[in-house]
Subunit: 574 residues, 2 copies
């Protein structure tokens, strides 16, 4: 554990702060101070001794770029995960859980210049490890390690880590969740690809987005074909592709300048590319491209266009073709894509500038009035703009980077849950018609009341709670021996508990208690509650929960109907 | 990002391998080679260039002490999490998600000598962070940061990290899950404590353990009182307590030797302790201790015994007193407990020696024959022995270690899911009567068949799958244009899909298709399937799923009825 504790070195420069190493204490006090906070084995004991000092110096915060999730945010996020998981399972997916850190060498060489954003674990002896940067590389590593698995549909919802400059409000965090769905295996062309698009639509519908999203789609082979036809030299294909990928945020003139001035492309070639990549559309654009003799004579473009034709046919069968926009400017940054690529965008991810907001509002109006009207081309939708909420594509060669020989074709998508969370929350805030969000799911609050000499009926409340729990009903009671009735009602109201069970001495003596639905309007015949037999407690409660639609499952599932409205003023936690 | 990239040092000793620092490349090649694998910013580019070499050197494995979760194991673990979460929610708990790493100083000084097991992140500039070691300290940190929260019931199911010597088969891993439930806030005495015990019992019942577990319970104040009464000096209280805590694994003679020889306790004092700590029992033992005049005259013991008396009364109301054994030798290692402490044990966690197995089997028989018979004292149950599957207690002072001033009393429990997983899996393996575990949850496999000229009916299969998905039904079909019927049946069988929907050209032309329940016995009237109207597809499927008990919810929930038996030979993934 301490193999190098006794090493000594001499230091040849004065400014050595924050270098992770071990120096003899008397030599350099400032450095030593710093090192005490770094090394583990040598200094823990010293830190223990300094406990009081530590306490006063305490920085009571979470690390930069991370956050605690709590209260309503946690509930919304859980419901989003639940909705997404349900769709994944509906399509027969299984889940795999990989470690949060991988051997450092597994991650290296996979992320290009972004590799500098990888978090490393300290070298405390043993293997060198890094926190995972995404869920795709661990999946490919797992496939390579489990060669008996030749095909799988897997989903993975987990945190990934990027040592990026954080921008919390924009959902750019150092610790954030990804929801990945991937299909590995050899199948007939475009069938898994089509199912991924269908799954994507099912997820956004389950989240209550009701068509307010567009799936931009393209194909690496079409792109490469276009570049070849336009005259891009083979060694410039990827770098020109990267330039094109910026067209969603950068005007063509700027991209053209990058191609020609920075990347040395012939301006005529650039202009030919420009004519292609501005094109967006549905079936008519695809048919148009397929009639282009230049493209048809290029092997790559021809294959890509045939794939896309088949995909469009399948998307039609799946009733999701109207969600898709063929976008010749979509290129995607990552090198490993080999076929279809896609990105999901929505007006909610547009920039918050005044200009942007106007566009957004227009988009909102347009998409509201035109939703679900079938085969329309959404390419001119002003909502088609900035950030993506999900993205992915086909990557047929990544697994072989690990296995060396074995090649398992894969296609997948990753949902950016933090962006989806922000947009969903905004929309819930804006929609007053939806059901209020509760932080807990308690269905019954068990109360007691009485006059003079009231002893709190604690054993009776405990007995009733026990009976409800035994019946699988979510129930609470006050942890006070003699609680006051208003305090008990308040506790139930604050958490939006739908039913109160009220125990009184006389009623109990007669084998009865009162059940009261909370929040009934004045004048409602059951406003003051209904007397029920103690013997029928569980049945009576279940029957009412079912009637109210407030059954455990009913409340717990579904994001579409949630609202932040009514319960907004309640404390964030009970 | 690279503030120290240009530093130089001279090295005064030859053996410098694996020291995390940066050296000028030409000086020391072996070291440089090592460093290339360590430092991030300086060497990523070089690593990129070496991609081919990297590939051949590749170690295709997960880091030591970690594992991938997949297949049936993943399904069982998910169901365990689901069962535990359901109980937590039934008691009104909310969940909080904290970052996987905390500022290093938050964790330091909290774990005594185990602090050396904390994983640190590398110093890549910025804050120094460590991976969380448990979920309790982050919860206390959160409470201290959110001073508006004066009371909360929270659960947290997440991974924690310990740089321990791993022993994977014994469930000792470097990355493992904890399931924590804690109640913070000021309440009347022992009410939250009693609910934690009740929750614990509900969880093990939900996991199908049917009373095959014992909750050992004690109280720090009773223990301290006993030690004081026996004559332990105040400054030796904690260290003597630690010695006593070993009694579950170590014979008294050994513990006595540690107390007297190692810790310098008067042998007479040790013997007096010995008389107390061997005692285990239920209500009779508690009443006995409460009649002990010596203990009643000690403030600490008196308070602890009064608490325990109240707790036993409440546990009686909650019908869980028979699960509890007051155990005077239970002390718990962590310093921060201040009141009730408890540990859950089961015969399944006993050692796998031949002796141990005999005891285990005897225990199994005994507990099977005697289960659910009420108020019996389980203290002499031979299953009471070695490892614990859950543990916790009251810690009233931990939050103030962070907040400095504010004190929020807390009580909680942590479930060791990996041990629970191993034991549950063993029991499923042993129980042939339970339902087979499936890795996915697909309910319907959509197939097609036909004679000469059969085109595969792909659009029709897609249309049917789409209709099922739209109705929320879990469905799959073959991703082949022209699949063979036996291959389609095999795909359904391998995954244990309960229903096949079989499309044929003639049937479709007549507006019909066939639904077939899989695995019916020969001679069953519906063995060959039943013809249904295409128009009623969704209703017919839902009606059958409901009848079969194979509705999505029915299959997905519940751990108690699962089995590994029938589907054991199926491939682990589809």
């Amino acid at each position: 554990m301490k193999p190098f504790a006794r090493l000594r070195w001499c230091v040849s420069r004065p400014t050595l702060r924050s270098i992770p190493s071990r120096l003899p204490p008397p030599r350099c006090t400032a450095l030593h101070q710093r090192l005490r906070n770094y090394t583990t084995e040598n200094t823990e004991d010293e830190m223990g001794k300094d406990k009081d000092k530590e306490k006063s110096n305490f920085q009571l915060k979470v690390p930069k770029g991370t956050k605690d999730w709590e209260g309503k945010d946690m509930v919304i996020r859980d419901k989003i995960f639940g909705a997404i998981t349900e769709v994944f399972k509906r399509h027969g997916a299984v889940t795999i859980d990989t470690p949060v850190f991988e051997l450092k060498e597994i991650l290296s060489g996979k992320y290009g210049e972004d590799s500098k954003l990888i978090y490393d674990l300290a070298d405390q002896g043993g293997e060198l490890c890094s926190l995972r940067y995404d869920l795709t590389v661990p999946f490919a590593r797992w496939l390579a390690m489990n060669s008996s698995v030749q095909s799988i549909k897997r989903y993975h919802i987990a945190k990934v880590y990027r040592r990026d400059q954080p921008a919390m409000t924009k959902g750019r965090m150092r610790e954030f969740y990804q929801c990945d769905f991937d299909i590995a295996g050899v199948y007939d062309p475009m069938l898994p690809d089509a199912e991924i698009i269908r799954i994507t639509c099912e997820i956004f519908e389950a989240l209550g987005w009701h068509g307010r999203y567009t799936i931009k789609i393209n194909h690496r082979k079409i792109l490469d074909g276009i570049f070849q036809v336009c005259g891009v030299p083979t060694d410039k294909l990827r770098t020109i592709s990267s330039a094109v990928d910026k067209l969603d945020k950068t005007p063509w003139e700027e991209v053209r300048r990058e191609m020609t001035e920075e990347k040395g492309l012939d301006p005529e070639v650039a202009d030919r590319i420009g004519e292609f990549v501005v094109q967006k559309g549905g079936r008519p654009l695809l048919d148009n491209l397929r009639q282009n003799q230049q493209l048809q004579s290029n092997e790559s473009a021809k294959a890509g266009l045939a794939d896309m034709d088949l995909l469009f046919t399948y998307l039609q069968s799946f009733s999701v073709l109207d969600r898709v926009s063929l976008d010749m400017s979509l290129a995607r940054g990552l090198d490993y894509y080999t076929g279809v690529i896609y990105e999901v965008i929505t007006e909610g991810s547009a920039p918050q500038t005044r200009e942007g907001q106007k566009v957004q509002q227009a988009a909102k109006k347009e998409s509201k009035s035109s939703k679900h009207d079938g085969e329309e081309d959404r390419s001119n939708d002003p909502s088609v703009g900035v950030g993506s909420v999900a993205a992915g594509g086909r990557y047929d060669n990544l697994v072989s980077m690990f296995s060396g020989k074995q090649q398992i074709p894969c296609v997948g998508i990753s949902f950016g849950v933090d962006r989806i969370f922000s947009i969903t929350k905004q929309r819930l805030n804006a929609d007053a018609s939806s059901i209020p969000i509760r932080t807990n799911e308690v269905d019954v609050y068990v109360m007691a009341f009485g006059g003079k000499g009231f002893d709190g009926l604690l054993p009776q409340r405990m007995e009733v709670a026990k009976r409800l729990w035994d019946a699988g009903i979510k129930a609470e009671f006050s942890w006070k021996v003699k609680p006051k009735l208003p305090a008990q009602f308040k506790a139930a109201e604050v958490n939006g508990v739908p039913f109160a069970l009220i125990l009184g001495e006389d009623e109990l003596a007669a084998g009865k208690c009162k059940i009261k639905e909370m929040g009934l309007a004045d004048g409602h015949p059951e406003k003051e509650g209904v007397m029920i037999e103690m013997a029928d407690l569980e049945t009576e409660v279940k029957e009412r929960l079912g009637r109210q639609g407030g059954s455990p499952a009913g409340v717990a599932n579904g994001v579409a109907g949630m609202s932040l409205e009514e319960a907004r003023d309640a404390p964030k936690t009970s």
